[in-house]
């Protein structure tokens, strides 16, 4: 079992940021488009709040700084792959420093719908250098847990068709110009995304969850895993003294 441990940056400390007083828990849900992440997060939030935890949930392109800019850029036709990667990284940095860290400082459970791994997977799917984006995103905190909702492309296709009923331009990777057909492009692009996420499983210690199961089964599996993080045992009283020194 993974022991509760102080949060740390992956490879690049954020300038001027003290992380020795971060108390909360950082939990990430990752997975390709349309896999059902937000459904699970909504349920998890409800459950955690019932258990008495304060919860913050956040996700990509929701920052005060860059969220709107990203939406606007995606509506145009000139957003290049590197620009997109960096715009999302800016958005992430803003949320990390101004939302996620303050919540962790206050002892919240922070549920994140997609972390740097989706940014990295999209960059890799567009042929960008893996080491480049890994270093760029190296200022992220290593979460207490990353749950990777994994499934195959056929399952995603059925979810899109039965759910939304239409393919999205960006989720289909139409900017990669595989061809004019959105379905074919979706399949090729999402295959690349899944492959990129798969390649991160060991390195970033993803907990892989089979997302082709019924919603309830996935939820119970997530509950079981999150219980193992022993959220209730994290008490400021117990940790305050040794923790301040341990992380610097």
């Amino acid at each position: 079992m993974r022991k509760p441990q102080p949060l740390q940056f992956y490879s690049e400390p954020l300038p001027g940021v003290d992380i020795s007083d971060l108390q909360g828990k950082l939990i990430v849900i990752e997975g390709p488009d349309a896999v059902g992440r937000s459904t699970q997060i909504a349920q998890l939030r409800q459950w955690l709040e019932q258990e008495g935890h304060a919860v913050l949930d956040t996700g990509m392109a929701r920052s005060a700084l860059a969220g709107k800019g990203i939406q606007m850029a995606k509506e145009g036709n000139t957003l290049g792959p590197i620009t997109m990667t960096l715009f999302y990284t800016t958005d992430f940095a803003d949320r990390l420093e101004n939302e996620i860290m303050p919540a962790l400082r206050a002892g919240f459970v922070v549920l994140i719908d997609r972390y740097i791994f989706s940014i990295m997977a999209r960059a890799i799917a567009r042929g960008e250098d893996r080491r480049w984006i890994e270093q760029v995103a190296g200022f992220a905190l290593a979460p207490h847990a990353v749950f990777y909702l994994r499934t195959d492309v056929e399952h995603l296709v059925s979810r899109v068709v039965l759910g939304r009923g239409a393919f999205d331009y960006w989720e289909s990777g139409m900017d990669l110009r595989f061809g004019p057909d959105m379905y074919e492009s979706f399949v090729r692009y999402q295959t690349r995304l899944i492959r990129a996420l798969d390649s991160m499983v060991e390195r970033y210690e993803f907990v892989v969850i089979d997302a082709s199961q019924p919603i309830d089964r996935i939820f119970h599996e997530l509950q079981r895993q999150i219980r193992r993080l022993q959220l209730l045992r994290v008490r400021p009283r117990k940790r305050a003294a040794p923790k301040a020194k341990a992380t610097v």
Binding site: K68, G69, A73, T83, T85, F87, N98
Partner: protein
């Protein structure tokens, strides 16, 4: 290992760097006019000018939302957009692109804000290697005299007020520019700047720049560079450098 991606195209990329008040904008403006007068197709790219990113940058500055990291990243995003949709296609097509500030500005300014040197160099690894990078070397007091003498109030981030270096804006600006100057001087060797003594007369600096351009690019300017159509006005949307 090279910092950037080599330029394998027929066009050229010329950039100027230096602290505020070094006179670089005046010089690159004069140089681009001269190149244009020689018949070359010349385009111009200014730091922090991407239309795609403008809204976010403006918002962040107005509301003072930036941290050193998000400040660095939004400028890299702006740069990436200009690289992907402007500079790269223009250089590929054979134009001479003149840039007022380049990735080196981030190397100096972001590090002066506390961002890691290696991190910010990696961040800009996708940039095209300039054919010539001019660095306008000027003592801090000379540059400060030029800036503080004849302009409106210093802006918050420009003066490094976000770093809490001093309560007085001018004092903060002085300390911040001093740090940036140190970073420029520290990287001059590493990145191979063509150094121009910016205390010389404007005319003398311009003469030196043109000489360096001819020495470095001389032969390659003779063939391959895109020329303006006779009587045409190439790239009407290209901006001109603001004269300090």
């Amino acid at each position: 290992m090279s910092l950037f991606v080599p330029n394998r195209y027929r066009g050229k990329l010329i950039v100027v760097e230096g602290i505020d008040g070094s006179g670089k904008s005046t010089q690159i403006s004069l140089l681009s006019h001269w190149l244009r007068s020689q018949g070359y197709a010349v385009a111009f790219s200014e730091w922090n000018s991407s239309p795609l990113v403008r809204q976010a940058t403006r918002r962040g500055k107005k509301k003072e939302m930036f941290t050193p990291t998000s400040f660095s990243l939004i400028h890299a995003t702006d740069f990436a957009d200009r690289m992907e949709s402007y500079i790269l296609p223009l250089v590929k097509s054979g134009a001479i692109v003149c840039a007022d500030r380049y990735a080196y500005t981030a190397f100096a300014r972001d590090v002066a804000r506390g961002v890691g040197r290696r991190w910010v160099r990696n961040l800009y690894r996708f940039a095209m290697h300039p054919n010539i990078a001019f660095y306008f070397r000027v003592p801090l007091d000379v540059a400060l005299g030029r800036i503080l003498g004849g302009r409106d109030a210093l802006k918050y981030y420009e003066a490094g007020m976000d770093l809490g270096l001093a309560r007085d804006v001018e004092e903060s600006f002085r300390i911040f520019q001093g740090r940036i100057l140190d970073e420029y001087e520290g990287m001059a060797q590493e990145v191979g700047f063509h150094i121009i003594d910016a205390t010389q007369s404007i005319e003398e600096q311009q003469r030196l720049m043109r000489e360096i351009v001819m020495n470095v690019l001389g032969d390659s300017l003779k063939n391959g560079i895109l020329h303006q159509p006779v009587g045409g006005d190439f790239n009407a949307q290209a901006t001109t450098a603001p004269v300090l």
